[in-house]
Structures are given as C-alpha cells and as structure tokens.
C-alpha cells in the first residue's frame, strides 16, 4: 500500500506516490548540485524539470492513475544521472567526488537539508509558528534568545513614536527568510507582479501574494498618503509615516509604486505565477531549499567578491600603470606628475559635482512636491495645470526614478532591455523639459503687466498724536509656520487662501505736523486691466486705535484670484519731532523688520530709500529735520558705522565724514567723496521737501568745509611768510616763494 500525494509540478497537477516523490526530489537535488557551478543553472534545471513534467503528463494521459517509482526511475534513466552526463571532465570528477554518486543521495538529502536545528552558526528566520504579522519579532526573539513579547513591545513603541519601526518591520519581513523555507516542500516565494488581478500594474497584488495577505492591504498602504491628502490629517496615530511619505500631497508612494513596477518582474508564465503564489510542494521550491539557498548566497557573494576585486584590481592597475609611467618619466619631467595630479583632482571634482547634482535633484524633487499645493494659487485651470503636472512628473520625478532604478538595476545586475528603458526615460525627460519651458513661458506671460498705481489715503482717527506704534493683530505669528517649507514670499497657506508677505513699509518725513498714512496696491497680470482688477481686490486693512496703527500681516490671496505678485506699500508720514515705533509682530523676520518685499528689488516703481535699511523693530525712533534718529541720538541708517566720529583731525590730515560723504584734506590735496552720488539718492514727488532739507544740510556742511580749508590756507600762508622772513634775514639770498597748490574744489 502506497500513499499518493498531489504535487504541483511546473504548473501541472501530478498525483505521485510518496516514495516516487522522494526519488524525484533526490534526483533534482543531485541535478542542482551537479549544475551548481554552471552559468545559467536555473535555466537548465528549469528545462529539465519542465521536460520531466511533460513526461509525467504523457504517462497520465496513457491512463496511469499516478506516477510510480518505476515511472520516475524510467524517466531518470532516460534523462540520465548526473554522473552519466557528458560534461566537462573536471566537473564530472569533482561532482562525483563530492557526492559519491546519487544513488545514496536520498540519504544525503536527508542529512544535508536541515529541518533540524542548525548547530553551528545561528541564522535569522522569521518564525512562522509564532507570528502575529510576519513573524519578524518571533524570529528576532529566537535569534537573541529572548521572549518575543519584549521585541514586539519595542517594535510597537518605535512604530508609534517615529513610524520608522513600521518601516524596519517591513524591511525585515521582506529580507529575512521564513522559517517555513527550512522544511522540505514548503513554499519558497518570489516577488512578481500579478498581471491577472491588477489595478495599475499588479504591484500590490504581487506584494499581497508574496506576504500571503489580501491585495487590499498593500493597496491601502499605498493609498494612505493619498488619503491623508484627502482628509488633511497628518497624525495617523499608529501610522505616523516617515516624513517623505507624509507630505500633504504625497507622490512618495506613487514614486515607490513606479519603482516597484519597474523593478519587479511580471509573472508571465504559469511557472512564475506559481512561484509568485508559492503553492506548496512545488519542485521549484524544493530545489531552492535551504542548502541551495545558502550555496546560492555563497556563490553570489563569491561572484560579487570576484567582480568587485576584478574592478578594484583593474582600477588599481590603471592607476598603478599611470603612477609607474609617471614615476618612470618623473626623473625627466615634473610636468607629468603635475598632469597626473591635475587628472586625479579633476576626477575628484567631477565626482563631487555629479554627486552634488544628484543630491540637488532630489532636493528639488522634495521642494517641488512641497510646493505643489501652491500651484492652485499660481496657475490658471486647464492646460497650465496640465503643464505643471507634466513638469512635476516628467521633469522632476522621471530623473529621480531613473537614478533610483539605475542604482537598483546596477545592484541587482539586471541586464534586460536596458536600452529601451534608457530611451524611454530620456524621451520622458524631454517631454518634461518641454512642459517646464512652456510652463515658465506661460507663467511669465501672466506676470507681464503691472497695474496703474495710485496712492490711496488712509484716514487716521487721531493723526495728531505724538507717538505712533505700528503693530498687527493678525493671528499668524512670526516664526511659526504651518508648513515646514518656507518659500518666499508665501508665508502660510491652507485650502483656499495663501498669505503673501509682500508688504513694504516706508517711513517718510511729513510736511505737515500730523501723521498721515498712504497705501499703494500693486499687482501684476496678463494685461494691465487684469492687473488693475487684481490690485483693487487686494484686502489690506490699516486702522488706527489711539496710538496704535494696526496693519495686516500679509495679503490674503484666494484660489480664484491667483498670485500675481500682489504687493502693498505702506507710506507712513512722520512729522518732525514725533516718534514712531514698529512692533516686532509686524513683518515676519526675527530681528529686522523687512521693509522691502523680497521681490521688489530692481523694481522701477519703488524707490528704495535709506530710511528703509538697518531698522530694528521694537525700537523708538524720532523724526528730525534730517531724518530718523533713535532716542539716544543715533541716526537710523547709521548702524553700521555708528561709532565713527564725524570729524577726525590727525597729525597731517583732517577728515570729515558725514553719512558716506567724505572730505579728506592732507598733503595730497583735498578729496571729496560724495557718498550720495554712488547711492540711489533719487526722490519722488512726495519727498521734494526732504530733498530741500538735505540740500540745505549739505550746503551748511560744505560751507563748514570751506571755512576750515580757508583756515588751513591762512595758516599755511602765515607759516610761509614766516619762513620767508627767516630766510631773508639769515641768508639774504633771493628765495622764490614756494607755491602751494590748493586745488579747486568743486562742491557741486
């Protein structure tokens, strides 16, 4: 009486006697030992096995109820035993010596394939018998000889706290072999994409098959980052995803999906499909039982070692020969050494630069992903939007995916259709470039025109106060931002509004004796008219309450109106003798109030006056006839060189320094450096009074200089006279008077 089992042999169900199965297994084991060192071993064994499968089918078709010992023996006889193969001489000898004939291989298999506990070196397995999810913790506990509960608690804590524990678990789940692979006939699975049950490319289904779970679990895992986008919920309790998956719109999982798509092969034939699902008792899986696996690893390691050493050796030889030739000629010329060094240096630089480029690319990818929600505020619907997607996917994501795929393919040494892959990547990237350029062109068109700017008066409830305090009541705090990415000038954004901090505050001397405030609203647009509309839509509240002037912190822009560099200039006219103070809450910086919007540089419309620079918040300033001063008498814009005295009198020179206007008198003559000429001393109509004041001031200064020069001249003349007198008295010789050149000073 014999037991009959059903096995799945290369996609065919085969009823076989257990003893016949043992024979068959021993035979395939001996084959795989025999071909262990053969290139294409897997393929050969696959061919032989599929031939055996065919022969089995032949027997069954002839009416046999099952495969018997005799059948297997007959097949083995026709296929030939390894020692009967006519291969290369030494291989036959070595295999024969090694396994001493496969008639005893049945016994051998039993001793070599160890379901028994390995005595020597411990190996890490996932524990299939003691598992909650994938048996990782159980396996680790076995390995370290502790209770699995401890490991589980550690993993749970790490997963909850940082989310990384989850990732580590998944990696271990994939990387660590299952303990089931140690028992004969158990499944040994391979990761394939499942073409039969797929949404996109069958990646999730394949992963599900691999881990023996429903495809919905990987699908949901892939979708969670997208769901988080939908629900705007960043904290998932147990599922706190690692940062890069957790961006508000997360193509992170999309990128991972695409990479998996490219890397995981599709299960194209029945054998692979079975491998994917890991049906029990498959000849393929038996073949790969632990001994083979260890051998395979060893072989791969050896192969890798050989290849690596070959590469290193080759590089070393090239370097060596270069050094040798250099050394040979070194006696004759130093030039070669220098050339060699320059070469080495150039390689180093190229390496650094390319590494930097790759890093920059990845950074760009991350930043653009972070910026992506902003596109709603920048782009019009329709094809501009499509271009933005095209840019993100093809211009940024494609090279990132390409590099990652290249690295993975490099590591796994995949060689198939590399050209096609490369070509498709490059063409996609070109598409990306086109999208990018079109997008930039289209956006710059949207910013082409500027509106007609007019100054609006803001009515103040009490303009006659002595001290005005600029402050804000905005709930948005400086220093705190909703998003970790900080892209100027965008400060904070949510679903339908974005706050732009394009606010410039100018402090100007008032002609009257009371405070006044004016507001300029500026916007860009595709046409002047559109820009005008947008400028009118700018909401910027300025309101006086007692001594407080409350201004908005930023300009709110909604999705419909779009961001077209809307900006606001707030002119605060301060009368002479009155004080002003800017609260820290105005603006966004920490120390200096930013008085000029970052995008306004070089803008022809807005003058950048000296008053705007070097201010500090939370400091009281007082307006004087020639500008703003702190209460202790320091000029507002003077903070760079505030300790420099105005007039320096040295042993042989006199230096007068006033706000960058320098007059230096020494034996070389008089030098005048007018600091205002080099700077932008331009004035608009509002500041003509300012100009007159400073002109007056300048004239005074010049008068003073003239006076002092006059004095010097006088002194020198006196001294000359004295000398002349002396000389006349002493020598009675005719002395020509020394001439002193006082160069003509043009004060204008």
């Amino acid at each position: 009486m014999k037991q009959v089992i059903n096995i799945n042999f290369h996609g065919q169900v085969v009823p076989i006697e257990t003893s016949a199965f043992e024979l068959l297994k021993a035979y395939t084991d001996s084959l795989s030992r025999y071909f262990a060192n053969e290139e294409g071993k897997e393929e050969i064994i696959n061919d032989i096995e599929s031939r055996i499968g065919e022969l089995f089918q032949g027997r069954l078709k002839k009416g046999a109820t099952c495969i018997t010992d005799d059948d297997v023996n007959a097949i083995i006889k026709s296929m030939g035993r390894p020692e009967e193969f006519e291969g290369e001489e030494e291989k036959v000898a070595s295999t024969l010596g090694e396994s001493a004939g496969s008639k005893t291989s049945e016994q051998q298999a039993k001793t070599e394939v160890p379901p028994t506990t390995p005595t020597g070196n411990k190996r890490l397995f996932r524990d299939e018998n003691n598992k909650v999810i994938g048996g990782v913790c159980g396996g680790l506990a076995n390995y370290f000889g502790t209770d699995p509960v401890i490991i589980r608690v550690i993993f749970a804590v790490v997963a909850l706290a940082f989310g990384t524990g989850l990732l580590a678990y998944i990696i271990l789940w994939v990387a660590v072999p299952s303990s089931a692979s140690t028992t004969i006939g158990a499944s040994r699975k391979k990761l394939f994409r499942d073409p039969d049950d797929k949404f996109i490319a069958g990646v999730c289904r394949g992963i599900g098959n691999y881990f023996g779970v429903s495809a919905w679990i990987p699908r949901i895992l892939f979708l969670i980052p997208f769901l988080s986008f939908a629900f705007r919920d960043r904290h998932w309790g147990a599922f706190d995803f690692p940062g890069f998956l957790n961006l508000s719109f997360s193509p992170g999982s999309l990128i991972i999906y695409i990479i998996l798509w490219l890397v995981i092969p599709e299960a194209s034939n029945t054998a692979e499909k079975l491998e994917m699902k890991g049906e029990k008792v498959d000849m393929n899986s038996i073949k790969n039982s632990v001994v083979e696996e260890m051998k395979g690893v060893q072989q791969r390691a050896e192969k890798f070692g050989k290849e690596a050493s070959a590469v290193v050796g080759e590089k070393g030889r090239v370097m060596g020969s270069e050094i040798k030739t250099v050394a040979k000629r070194g006696g004759r010329s130093l030039g070669d050494v220098i050339i060699f060094l320059v070469k080495a240096f150039a390689y180093f630089i190229i390496g650094c630069v390319s590494f930097g480029l790759v890093v920059a690319l990845f950074a760009l990818a991350v930043v653009s992903i972070g910026l992506f929600p902003l596109k709603e505020f920048l782009l019009t619907e329709g094809w501009q939007n499509a271009l933005a997607w095209g840019t993100l996917l093809f211009f940024i994501a494609v090279p990132v995916i390409g590099i990652i795929t290249w690295i993975i393919r490099r590591l796994t040494k995949m060689k198939s259709n590399r050209k096609i892959l490369r070509a498709s990547f490059i063409s996609l990237w070109i598409v990306g470039w086109v999208c990018f350029i079109c997008l930039i062109a289209s956006i710059s068109k949207d910013f082409k025109s500027i509106n007609n700017v007019n100054e609006q008066n803001v009515t103040l409830s009490n303009p006659a106060i002595n001290k005005l305090l600029l402050t804000t009541n905005s709930p948005l705090k400086s220093g705190y931002r909703y998003n970790s990415f900080r892209i100027e000038p965008f400060e904070a954004w949510d679903e339908d509004t974005v706050t732009v901090k394009n606010i410039e505050i100018k402090i100007i001397k008032s002609t009257s004796d009371s405070f006044s405030v004016t507001l300029l609203k500026i916007a860009n647009g595709r046409t002047k008219r559109f820009a005008d509309t947008l400028a009118n839509l700018i909401q910027f509240n300025v309101e006086q309450k007692d001594s407080l002037l409350i201004v908005d912190k930023g300009i709110a822009i909604n999705r419909k109106d779009k961001f077209r560099n809307q900006r606001v200039v707030l002119n605060v006219y301060v009368p002479v003798g009155k004080q002003i103070r800017i609260d820290k809450s105005v603006g966004w910086g920490n120390n200096n109030v930013r008085f000029d919007g970052p995008w306004n540089e070089g803008d022809y419309f807005i003058d950048r006056d000296d008053e705007e620079h070097g201010w500090e918040s939370n400091v009281d300033y007082i307006m004087k006839a020639d500008g703003l001063y702190t209460l202790d008498g320091r000029k507002a814009e003077d903070w760079d060189n505030d300790h420099e005295p105005k007039v320096k009198i040295g042993p042989s020179s006199i230096e007068i320094n006033d706000n960058g206007d320098k007059i230096k008198i020494d034996k070389n003559g008089v030098k005048v450096h007018d600091g205002s000429n080099g700077d932008n001393y331009r004035y608009n109509g509002n500041e003509s009074i300012n100009k007159i004041d400073s002109m007056k001031q300048k004239l005074d200064e010049q008068q003073r200089v003239k006076d002092s020069l006059e004095k010097v001249k006088h002194n020198v003349e006196k001294q000359l006279e004295k000398i002349e007198d002396k000389k006349e008295n002493e020598t009675e010789a005719v002395v020509y008077p020394a001439t002193i050149f006082i160069p003509f000073i043009n004060f204008d």
């Binding site: 290369h10 290139e39 032989i48 089995f56 089918q57 078709k61 029945t270």
Partner: protein, 127 residues
C-alpha cells in the same frame, strides 16, 4: 586508460556539432533532437543535452521561442542564429578535415595490418 573514457571524450567533442546540425535543419524541440540523434544511432541523455543547449544559447549561437503545447508546459523550440550558422560552418570544415584525416590514417593502418596479416600468412604458409 580505459575504453569508455576515451570513447566518451570522442563523443563529447562532436556533440555540439551534432546538435547544431540537427537544429540547422529547422526549429527543434529538445526531445526531437534526442529522437533524431537516436535514429542516427547516437544515444545521449537528455540531461546532457539541456546544459549544452543552454551553453550554446548563452554563446548566442542558438535562440529559442516558447510554443504552447497541449500536453504539459510550454516548450522551447530552438533555432540557429546567424552567428550559430557561421559557427556551424567552421565546425563543419574542421570536422571534414578531421574526418578525412582520420579516414586516411585508419585506412593506411588497415593496409599496414593487412600487410602484416599477409606476412603472417606468408610466414605461416611453410608450415
């Protein structure tokens, strides 16, 4: 020196040539090749054939395509590549040279042995 070893060495040398000449006649499935070789009285094991086919394929002398079979798994049908055809021509030339040489040599030997026999006869005749 035993006879089996020498014989197998000789067969091994020409196996690749034989396989190529079978495939040259048209696309062939491994068991077809075995059958044809059997018919030509050249018995080899399938276990010998598969590694040789894989090696020839890896050397780009052969190519194959899958053809679904109604009994069992899909079958690999092998055919010669251009490189393989070239290789075959060279092998054929070598083989012809070798065969002629062997023939010439063994015929000479036969004459020689025949001569010896005659001598023996001659030698034996007087008795």
């Amino acid at each position: 020196m035993n006879i089996d070893n020498t014989a197998s060495q000789m067969r091994k040398g020409v196996l690749e040539f034989c396989i190529l000449s079978v495939i040259k006649q048209g696309e062939a499935y491994p068991s077809d090749i075995i059958d044809k070789m059997k018919a030509a009285n050249l018995n080899i094991f399938e276990g010998t054939l598969y590694p040789l086919l894989t090696r020839l394929k890896n050397a780009e002398f052969l190519t194959y395509r899958w053809i679904e079979s109604n009994s069992g798994p899909p079958r690999k049908y092998f055919s010669l590549t251009e490189k393989g055809a070239q290789f075959y021509k060279e092998l054929e030339a070598t083989w012809n040279e070798l065969a002629n040489a062997v023939k010439a040599l063994s015929e000479a030997e036969q004459e020689h042995t025949a001569g010896q026999e005659n001598a023996n006869i001659n030698f034996n005749n007087p008795q």
